[in-house]
């Protein structure tokens, strides 16, 4: 019997699902190897059981929390898919604001119709077997992880920083071009795609284990970045991993 796989989506842009759909060359093989029992909103089809559930998006409403708990009960393996699910990502920027004001700003007097809660990662709500990082996820990693899971093993994420992959890609270091980049403290796995296309790394895959934040912040300062600029950079995807900048900027 082919393994049953479900793909679920919570608060997100759906770009990670779309990245899976963009596996044009592998799509027919993938459909041959697994049975996709749900690609969206499986909750109305009660009774489904999954071998693997991929969950995209952050949890931002009580209904979403309830749904993800239900998915957890019905799946053997739960993989969080993409920065919204693994870090809170862009969705967590709103946590930095007063949520009541945020609602009024967007919906005015109609705000009471649209409840929202602070953005949570999937693992803040239910246990997760594997976190596939990135905004969006990388196609290559999705295939690798899926294959490993199909072989009955739980994959291990890369322990390296983006810099390692950036060197392998043969890029000139962005710091040498006067651009500040979070590659030195960010978890690898993306193939350093942003620096390769001229963009600085913004840590959409989260930070490496034991990142040397103190040095990173000092380097950013030495490049002339203000406290606000350093904070912007560190919070774009990682609001839920707060960094104390006070010691670096109180003088």
């Amino acid at each position: 019997m082919k393994p049953k796989v479900g793909v679920f989506s919570f608060t997100s842009c759906e770009g990670c699902q779309l990245t899976i759909l963009n596996l044009e060359d592998e799509m027919l093989d993938l459909l041959g190897a697994i049975e996709i029992v749900n690609f969206r909103e499986a909750i109305d089809e009660r009774g489904h059981e999954y071998d693997v559930a991929f969950v995209e998006g952050s949890i931002t409403t009580p209904e979403e929390a309830e749904e993800v708990r239900e998915i957890r009960e019905r799946t053997k393996i739960l993989v969080a898919l993409g920065a919204c699910a693994t870090l809170g990502g862009i969705n967590a920027i709103k946590n930095r604001h007063d949520l009541h004001q945020v609602r009024r700003k967007v919906y005015g007097d109609g705000a009471h119709h649209f409840p929202t809660e602070a953005t949570q990662r999937v693992r803040d709500v239910v246990p997760v077997e594997y976190e596939m990082h990135g905004c969006p996820i990388s196609k290559r990693e999705f295939l690798q992880v899926t294959k490993t899971l199909l072989l009955g093993r739980v994959p291990r994420p890369s322990p390296h920083a983006v810099c390692t992959e950036c060197k392998t890609a043969g890029n000139v270091c962005l710091f040498d071009k006067g651009i500040c980049c979070l590659g030195p403290i960010t978890r690898a796995g993306c193939g350093a795609i942003c620096p390769t296309y001229g963009g600085d790394c913004v840590a959409c895959r989260g930070l490496v284990d034991e990142p040397n934040l103190a040095s990173m912040i000092e380097i950013m300062k030495s490049k002339g970045m203000s406290r606000q600029e350093v904070e912007d950079r560190l919070t774009q995807f990682n609001t839920l991993e707060p960094v104390d900048l006070e010691p670096h900027f109180s003088s």
């Binding site: 919570f10 770009g15 779309l18 963009n22 799509m27 027919l28 862009i90 709103k94 649209f114 963009g199």
Partner: protein, 429 residues
């Protein structure tokens, strides 16, 4: 006449989920709503206090499908606010990218969501067995469109190289040549696509009240940017959008409702076709004529046909842009810097219609106020008006048939891939 109720839970999405509710009693519509119940994300609030060059990056994350469109509208808004003038080649390259995104999105919609209906299949998965050549062609075309964008800016979902003032990395001439090669290779598949969709009969629907809104530009079929034009005759610059269209909060919809000169209006491929058909490239124009698409076309199901025509237009346009870029010296494309600060509006045609970003930016380059108006939201009130027409046209019909027609109608507006997928009760692809 007996009454009936239609209740479809989580049918559609605008970055998310929607429900279809219809309640007819004694031939009279008691209730008819397209409820948008997607979790709100508050992007406008998130942008406040962020630097202008972060905005394209953040707003791309509004939607994975039209990430490039959000990036473009965001860049245009920042450039308008800050008095940044990108160089000519930058504009050409952006137009090439917009063509790539339109191609990708329309191919996905027509092949993966619309086509299965006409093969009596629930989704594209059974088609892989019964019509493998169609599915393989669909995948090849989709890959061509994705690969074109990836070659130029690294990624289709959340493009990397684009920013206000220029490109973070200018593509090499051989990369632009590669895009041209990918396009040329697709010609046969596109011809076969026309043959396939030529055979599909769109259901009839007539409601002549629809106002169409699209951008219009001198000398070209406006996609990258232009003036706001209405089928009722008015035309004005993007900065006037607040006088032209009005947003209201509807309690049943986390996407705001929008109206212009009439109670509702439509944006998207059909609106663009109706307003700008005279500016299509030759192949697109010829096929539109062959298909009998006589403007103004008021049947919303022909949004599908208009997308087919736009696929051909974007293909020809992209080839032309590749040639133009290749003819020019691959010089130094410096990123242009701000010359002022204030308010700016960016308007761009994304696959589903006109997208507006409106920012106020202070002298430190930080956004103090932001507003984004998304095409699917603009169409909502018009979809509901068309739904009423369907219900009244099909009075006395089987509720199942009416429900199916209503779902097809919403799907024709192409609200979003996942939504339409769910509409069809498709499990995947």
């Amino acid at each position: 006449m007996k009454g009936y109720e239609i209740n479809v839970h989580h049918i559609t999405r605008i970055e998310g989920h929607g429900n279809l509710v219809v309640n007819v009693k004694d031939g009279h519509i008691e209730e008819l709503r397209l409820e948008i119940v997607e979790s709100p994300r508050f992007f406008e609030a998130m942008l406040e206090g962020r630097r202008y060059d972060e905005a394209p990056w953040i707003t791309a994350r509004i939607c994975g499908i039209c990430a490039l469109g959000h990036t473009t509208a965001s860049i245009l808004a920042a450039e308008d606010a800050l008095g940044i003038e990108p160089d000519e080649e930058t504009v050409l390259l952006r137009k090439l990218l917009v063509d790539g995104e339109t191609l990708q999105s329309h191919i996905l919609h027509l092949y993966f969501l619309v086509a299965p209906d006409f093969f009596n299949a629930g989704s594209v998965i059974p088609l892989a067995e019964t019509h493998p050549e169609v599915v393989k062609r669909a995948l090849r075309l989709k890959k061509m469109a994705n690969a074109s964008v990836e070659t130029l800016v690294g990624r289709k979902v959340h493009p990397i190289g684009m920013m206000p003032g220029g490109f973070r990395r200018w593509p090499l001439p051989e990369e632009i040549g590669e895009v041209k090669r990918l396009l040329l290779e697709a010609r046969e598949d596109l011809t076969a696509t026309v043959e396939l969709f030529r055979r599909l009969d769109m259901p009839p629907l007539r409601r002549d009240e629809t106002e169409y809104l699209a951008l219009r530009e001198d000398g070209e079929y406006a996609l990258y940017t232009g003036q706001i034009a209405s089928s009722l005759g008015t035309i004005s610059p993007p900065r006037t959008y607040r006088d032209r269209i009005h947003e209201t909060v509807a309690p049943h919809s986390s996407a705001k409702h929008v109206s212009a000169e009439r109670d509702s209006f439509a944006v998207g491929a059909l609106a663009r076709y109706n307003l700008n058909h005279d500016r299509l490239r030759p192949w697109a124009k010829a096929v539109a004529a062959e298909l009998g698409l006589e403007p103004p076309v008021t049947n919303p199901f022909h949004n599908n046909t208009a997308q087919l025509v736009e696929i051909l237009h974007c293909y020809e346009d992209a080839l032309e842009l590749c040639d133009q870029l290749l003819e020019r010296p691959n010089g130094d494309h410096r990123i242009q810097e701000p010359t002022r600060h204030g308010r700016g509006v960016g308007a761009s045609e994304v696959p589903r219609g006109t997208l507006y970003h409106d920012y106020r930016i202070d002298e430190s380059g930080r956004i103090t106020e932001a507003n984004c108006i998304i095409p699917t939201g603009q169409n909502l009130a018009n979809i509901e008006a068309d739904m009423r027409q369907v219900v009244s046209d099909m009075a006395g019909g089987e509720p199942n048939d009416i429900q199916q027609r209503l779902e097809m109608l919403v799907r024709a507006y192409d609200p979003c891939i996942s939504c339409s997928c769910h509409f069809l009760d498709v499990e995947f692809v």
